[in-house]
Amino acid sequence: MQSGCCIRGLWILNNQDFVIFSRKFPVVERRWRVACEKESDDNFKYHLLPYDSELASAFADRKKREGSARGFGIRVSQSVKGSDSWVDDPITRHVISLHINKEEKGESNLLWPLILHIKGPYSILVLPLVEPHHLKSYSRMCNRSDCGSAVGADENLSSLLLDLPSITGAFIVAHTIGEIILGEAVEPEVVAASSPSVGGLLDSLTGSIGISGISARPKPVAAPVAASTSSGTAVSGAVMSDAPKMGSRPLDKDVLRSFISSAMPFGTPLDLSYSNISAIKTTGFSSADTPPADRKQPAWKPYLYRGKQRILFTIHDTVHAAMYDRDEIPDSITISGQVNCRAELEGLPDVSFPLTGLDTARVQSLTFHPCAQVPEHGGDKQAITFSPPLGNFVLMHYQALCSVGPPIKGFYQLSMVSENEGAFLFKLSLMEGYKTPLTIEFCAVTMPFPRRRVVSFDGTPSIGTVSNTDHSVEWKIITNTRSASGKSIEATFPGTVRFAPWQAQRMPSFGSAIGSVADEDSDLETESSGSMVNVEDQIMEKMSKDLQAVDLEDPFCWQAYNYAKVSFKMIGPSLSGMSIDPKSVSIFPAVKATVEISTQVTSGDYILWNTLGKCPVAATPEA
């Protein structure tokens, strides 16, 4: 680790590829220049950082060359030598290079590694400092004339990335900036018994603003948080798409500028906690904010709590499942989860509790907040000790297998009886083998038909209500807790769904990885239709012909399959087995504080694949 994480510059472009914000860091740039001059040769020399207009046009050029802002990622037939996709690595959709053409000199200068983070309508580019030999190495890689590197053997991106913490750091910078410019910098949700969720750090400080003296600072109010809509993003585990969302508010440059000047004054990030920084900016410090006498106040905890003491934990399981109902393919159910915490404790106490209840055979991974001290690979009786920061934070993440059977099982069958009509059948059993206090709060099943327009549907479910939109049919099985507390439920739903006539979609001119290889024979081969086995295959064939390529960020082409997605929320003990005994939570130095623990189980990607159709699978190794 020769150098830490330094940023030479960062740029924010809007969706018209226009630079709307840029910041360069002369001190870091100066270091780069010195390093370059030391290693310069005929092919390599120092270039000034591009001006905004140069960078914008280089970005637009790359977009044109690589098909999209992110690029192909994988070497495809359109890839050209010297471009990112030539390197043939998916991460080149995130770590990009730009060729800056200096107009007056006619020379091209390679800018790498540029961290590309697309957030809302903005593209955020961050250029971390590397060493000249890294840049040379990348330049060789994207200009190599052979067929692409062999894994682990040839000069490759992996060893570069491993050698460069600055790239990792720059990603964190880019993501933080992304959250700030979209106003999405929110803290994880912590559910308290008294209210659905409690606020974050700023709530802890509310009231003190403008009122001098810590004595005037009231205890934190468990105020309802307006931004709770985004609470799921950090938790759900769903695909975190960075597809541009439109209609966001204009970029607040002053906020960003002040964040940057605090977080990385010279281009070296030191603290990226937006909530801390904005608290310091808005609140400042009063003379009453005295540091603790006995120990150092951590950098991540600039303020100390004052008020009624309590500690809240929220255990949140997210269930992912791929249900096949086929003999040859086993269902897969995994749970990912996290424990969120909010410690309203005075001073700088340590909190610890044992990690009981977690079956080590089922828990696949446990990772912790940096404030936690974990005994080095302890045995079964692991205990976690942590010094909590102010506000809401994620204490730990875990992944586990389901301790009981799947909460919803059964099958979904959809069969196309004609080109525009499908007969479907659901047969589900909910909460089978589940006991109170585990109750299901709501449960709904959605059949998405993104490529067909639903005209009507027919059929009555054994329980719940059905509604449809243009591209989906939704079956709400359970809408309130009381209706289904603590007993298993059988639900069936036979019916038919009618679609508007199929219309072939036009292929987009770009955006697909190998899109240009259109099947020129397609119109010549309709004669084979007579030989098709049945209508269904025929429709399949027809529909899969103009499927568009998905981004590499997607797990597979969702649109190629028929499936039903289950969403539910349960209250009660976690399915993963993660639990915290309030009595075993100890605080040092000892104080009297209430401990509140809540648990919720929600669905992530909980998919019932059409038993009669195609479905994506993955081999599960017999571990």
Partner: protein
């Protein structure tokens, strides 16, 4: 301070302009004033909003990047401004902080470019200011500003190492006392200072003790060390106290990480690791201190841990698996943004590459992990791709030949294990088999396919020993089978497979893999394919097979043949377009083969295919093109053919669908526009007669004069009939004579009615028979004469500046020679030669440059060119036949125009030197009647000679007779003329000349002596030999003309007004009788009386104008 003050809005524009295009845009705003000065004055104004001031500071920072370093005075002004802002109670902290930061940044960039300033007062003042700020630990309100000041000092220390070395003790004590959250900044400042001290070991005793500060914090002075720039060989260990103290400091610092932010920790580690190394701290201590980093979910902290891990590799011995599986978690946790999951996988790959080495145990433990690398269903495709990379890596670990067997789980067969890895891994993207070929799944699958394929032989591996083992390995077999199977199942994959093969073919190292795959496809896929319309999708593969020399073309040709048969059979009214489409594709393959392979290897199969296509294929265009290709295959030599077919930039493989129009889709060739060139085409393209003319004809009788003359009956009138020959006017406008003859069509000769005697009637019937076989050119093809020429061109002219290397071997040279293609020669003539058909030459090589001048340079080759030169000469000439259909036997000039294509697609167009046509070109043997027996030919000719001889007598009784020409429409009359010519040449040379030039026309030789002589020479055969006695009309002593015609002598006398004496005294040795037919219907008769030293030629003709040329001709023939 020059220049006006800018208003806030003006500043906004300045900054925007600057960001967009740099300092160049600034001048119009500043008017040349110093940007810094303008900024400083604006910064100090109270009425400016704080946000603008912050902007200005950032702007100043940016500007310091590409502006020249600031002078000392500006820096001082900047510090003054900074001081006033810091001390002002009203300015907000945000502005103060930013001012501190920006000033530091500007100082660093300015001072680094200007070494002299380092020792100057501005830097000292700045440091002093910072020290004043930070020297108040735990102070409340401005604590954040203190942190900022620490960071500023740290940056100064980084930029000017050891700047703060002398005050390190103070920094340590400050660091110890600070308890607020900004302690991180103090810690970082201290650790950076310590790092520089440890690294650079500045001399001087001032820092010998960490605990006792010998120098006051303020006033600050820049250390001498920094000014002198000299380090010393100071060793910490030697100073025991110092060393201990340093260890205490480090021990203190090592307690801090828990208080640092993740990014703070990064900076901390950067500083502390080298110090720990220098102090030889126990690595296990580092491990204990920092292994918690691996258990956090912060990617950055994991990354830092890896940094420590590699630094202290030894102390982490045995923990590889643990570390790897922890990193693996990063990629599995769905809460992370995709990028960090990808990074985690990359780190693992990089991690493995670093630790594995030759260690078998480590390889084994990696393989033990392989089950965890399988992609899961909801993994994004990017993750799947990288996980497949990991599996490919495991696979390459197994197939490494040096590897011992006995790996856990691999016991049975490592090949099988490898295959399992591949197959199970690929399941996650198996939808590629039915999704459209452009799907991302497909791209990922084929990427994995490629990685597995080349895993065993990376590019970095220079040895080729692995080739054999790789081909025989199970994994390779499986890969090929998967390829063949999935391709035959879904034709949609064809373009992807082709792209994959292309990729391999384009690689210097894995070219052979691509070829091997093609061979496999040729062997296994081709027989599997159904011969129906679906075959059309596989053409891109065929294209690759057809252009690769390593794959035998026979299988493909056979398949195409069967496909052609299918197409022909299926052809119906509805399938016209399909047939054309597929037929064109087939021809495209044929074309590719022609381009890429040796014609010899293809000849049989391809010619069969092309021939049957050109015969049976239902589509006309396909048939035509097939014929073209067939012609080219047969006629044009290989390399040139390749060149022709490659014309128009149709690189093979790039546009497989344009083949059908290859001839027509060529970009329109530019005409040869170089005037220097086009004007002188004749100077490098030469057309020449094969047989030079005897008479260099410099004149010719112009036909118009002749035709207009009303006194002389037009020769055309004789064969006129009542129908107007309209077709001729259309076809040949250059025939002025014809036009004239049209105008005279009114004159119709009356058929005379006369009485004739037996002899005359015999003559007349002989002539009638003769004339009845002469075609009437107005109604049928006339009699043609052929002039053989040859065409050649100089290669230098077309190859331009291309150097021809005489030392290269001859064949190479031939390949380098330029060629012209599809040459068409067009002829016109002002002489009445009828329509002259143009002459095509498909292909002609340029004649190599004359080697003569090089011969002297390369003595060793002096002989070779001479010998080869002649033989080759013929290769560079194209025979050209000019066929004339004379309307009148007369010499003339034929103008030659060339139109041709050069290799670069240029059209060469222009006129060549004209070809002169002599009277001797008109000489033909008389037409023989169809029913004539071969044996009767000599006597027929003699009879005809005699009849014509009689008829051409000017006073002949046949003079008014008309003879019907072939076809019965036209009639002709004979109007004879006589002439004589005395040739004073020796007998033998005359006979030789006759033999050489007139032999075909000799019909009779009279006189024993001459007969013996000529027979003995054996050149003239199959004629009538007579002695004088056998023909009463001849007498040895007498003049050769018939004695019965006394008028002859008299006429002769009149004729030879020059008083040429007939050499009666000379002994008459014999006669040649020569009958020459002059197209279209005239005759020239010679009767030569041969004496020893002179010969009298009696000439009769029914076309008097020819006498003029005949005279020259005879002179050239015999006298020259």
């Amino acid at each position: 301070m020059a220049g006006k003050l800018l208003s806030p809005t003006e500043w906004e524009s300045v900054i925007d302009d600057y960001n967009l295009g740099g300092a160049a845009n600034l001048h119009r705003w500043t008017g040349g004033a110093s940007v810094v000065d303008l900024c400083i004055s604006s910064l100090l104004r109270k009425d400016f909003p704080v946000q603008l001031k912050l902007n200005l500071l950032t702007f100043l920072e940016h500007d310091s990047l590409d502006d020249s370093p600031l002078p000392s005075s500006s820096l001082s002004r900047l510090i003054d401004a900074l001081r006033s802002v810091i001390q002002s109670p009203s300015d907000p902290f945000a502005l103060k902080d930013q001012f501190l930061i920006s000033t530091t940044a500007i100082f660093i960039t300015s001072l680094l470019d200007n070494d002299e300033l380092i020792s100057g007062s501005p830097l000292r003042d700045l440091v002093e200011l910072f020290l004043t700020i930070i020297n108040r630990p735990n102070h409340g309100l401005d604590r954040h500003t203190r942190g900022v000041a620490c960071e500023c000092l740290r940056q100064l220390e980084l930029a000017f190492p050891c700047l703060l070395s002398e005050i390190t003790p103070h920094l340590w004590s400050l660091c110890q006392s600070e308890r607020t959250h900004v302690s991180q900044w103090y810690v970082l400042l201290l650790s950076t200072t310590i790092l520089n001290v440890v690294k650079l070991k500045p001399s001087g005793t001032s820092i010998s003790s960490m605990s006792n500060a010998t120098i006051p914090l303020i006033p600050f002075s820049v250390p001498q060390f920094l000014i002198d720039g000299v380090g010393s060989d100071f060793v910490w260990k030697e100073k025991e106290i110092c060393y201990k103290e340093l260890r205490r400091v480090v021990a203190f610092l090592l307690e801090c990480p828990q208080y640092l932010t993740p990014f703070g920790l990064v900076e901390f580690m950067v500083a502390i690791i080298p110090v720990a190394e220098e102090l030889e701290l126990q690595a296990s201590l580092m491990r204990v201190q920092f292994s918690w980093l691996l258990y956090t979910f912060e990617p950055l902290l994991c990354h830092i841990f890896l940094g420590i891990y590699f630094k202290f590799l030894d102390s982490f011995q045995g923990q590889e698996l643990e570390v790897a599986s922890r990193i693996m978690l990063l990629s599995k946790e769905p809460q992370h943004h995709l990028v960090f999951r990808l990074l985690g996988l990359h780190w693992i790959l990089g991690f493995f590459a670093l630790i594995v080495g030759e260690d078998e145990a480590k390889k084994r433990s990696i393989l033990d992990m392989s089950l965890r690398f399988y992609p899961t269903i909801f993994d994004p495709l990017a993750i799947k791709a990288l996980k497949l990379d990991l599996l490919a890596y495991c696979s390459s670990l197994i197939c490494n030949p040096g590897d011992a067997s006995g790996l856990k789980g691999v016991e049975a067969d490592k090949g099988v294990y490898q295959v399992t890895l591949f197959k199970d891994g690929l399941v996650s993207v198996s939808a590629f088999k039915w999704l459209p070929p452009w799907s991302t799944e497909t791209a990922v699958a084929f990427r994995a396919f490629h990685k597995f394929l080349i895993g065993g032989s990376p590019h970095a591996d220079a040895s080729s020993s692995s080739v054999g083992t790789l081909i025989e390995s199970d994994i390779f077999y499986t890969l090929q089978k998967m390829l063949v199977d999935s391709t035959s199942e879904s034709k949609g994959l064809v373009p992807v497979i082709v792209a994959c093969i292309d990729r391999l073919l384009g690689c210097h190292k894995h070219h052979w893999l691509g070829e091997h795959l093609l061979v496999t496809l040729d062997k296994h896929l081709l027989p599997e394919l159904k011969k129906d319309y679906s075959l059309g999708s596989y053409f891109p593969i065929f294209e690759r097979i057809s252009e690769n020399d390593k794959v035998s073309p026979s299988g493909l040709l056979e398949l195409l043949m069967r496909f052609t048969i299918f197409l022909v059979e299926k052809h119906g009214p509805d399938t016209g377009l399909k047939s054309w489409h597929h037929g064109s594709k087939i021809l495209g393959i044929c074309r590719t083969m022609l381009i890429h392979r040796r014609s010899s290897s293809l000849f049989t199969g391809l010619s069969k295919l092309l021939a049957s296509t050109s015969l049976h294929f239902p589509d006309l265009e396909v048939r035509d093109n097939a014929r073209f290709y067939l012609r080219m295959l047969i006629c044009v030599p290989g390399k040139k053919l390749k060149h022709i077919l490659n014309m128009g930039g149709n690189l093979p493989g790039i546009s497989p669908s344009t083949h059908s129009g290859a001839f027509f889709n060529l970009q329109f060739p530019r005409a040869l526009s170089d005037p220097k060139r086009s004007g002188s085409i004749a100077s490098y393209i030469h057309i020449e007669r094969v047989m030079p003319l005897l008479v260099k004809q410099s004149w010719s009788l112009s036909l118009p004069n002749f035709g207009i003359n009303p006194d002389k009956p037009g020769f055309f009138e004789g064969i006129r009939d009542n129908e107007s020959p309209s077709d001729e006017t259309d076809t040949d406008i250059t025939m002025s004579g014809n036009i004239i003859s049209e105008s005279e069509m009114l004159h119709q000769q009356k058929e005379p009615l006369r009485v004739m005697d037996a002899k005359i009637s015999e003559i007349v019937s002989c002539l009638r028979r003769h004339f009845s076989f002469i075609p009437d050119y107005r109604h049928m093809p006339g009699i043609k004469i052929t002039i053989s020429c040859s065409l050649r061109f100089d290669s230098e002219a077309l190859s331009g500046t291309r150097e021809t290397n005489t030392a290269a071997n001859v064949f190479d040279e031939v390949d380098k020679l330029p060629a012209i293609y599809a040459t068409v020669l067009k002829f016109t003539s002002s002489a009445p030669y009828g329509p002259i058909s143009s002459f095509p030459i498909p292909f002609l090589l340029g004649s190599p440059p004359k080697n003569d001048k090089h011969v002297t340079q390369s003595d060793s080759l002096a002989i070779v060119p001479v010998e080869n030169g002649h033989a080759e000469e013929e290769n560079f000439k194209a025979p050209v036949c000019i066929e004339l259909e004379p309307r009148e036997p007369m010499p003339g000039l034929v103008d030659v125009f060339i139109e041709s294509n050069a290799e670069n697609g240029q059209i060469i167009r222009g006129q060549l030197h004209s070809i002169s046509v002599g009277i001797e070109d008109m000489f033909l043997r008389a037409i023989l009647p169809d029913d004539l027996a071969e044996d009767d030919v000599p006597s027929y000719y003699v009879d005809l000679f005699n009849a014509l001889w009689e008829a051409c007598e000017s006073s002949s009784s046949t003079g008014r007779e008309t003879f019907v020409l072939k076809g019965g429409k036209g009639v002709s009359a004979i109007s004879g003329t006589r002439s004589v010519k005395l040739l004073e040449v020796p007998l033998t040379s005359l006979v030789q000349a006759v033999e050489r030039h007139l032999a075909p026309f000799v019909v009779c030789i009279i006189g024993e002596q001459l007969v013996d002589m000529v027979k003995a020479r054996g050149v003239i055969k199959d004629i009538l030999w007579k002695d004088f006695s056998s023909d009463s009309s001849f007498d040895v002593t007498c003049s050769p003309t018939s004695s019965k015609e006394p008028l002859y002598l008299k006429y002769l006398g009149d004729e030879d007004e020059g008083g040429v004496q007939i050499p009666t005294s000379k002994k008459n040795i014999g006669y040649f009788q020569i009958l020459i037919f002059l197209p279209p219907r005239f005759h020239l008769l010679f009767q030569m009386e041969l004496c020893d030293y002179s010969t009298l030629v009696r000439i009769r003709t029914d076309h008097w104008p020819c006498l003029a040329y005949v005279d020259d001709y005879l002179e050239a023939l015999f006298l020259d």
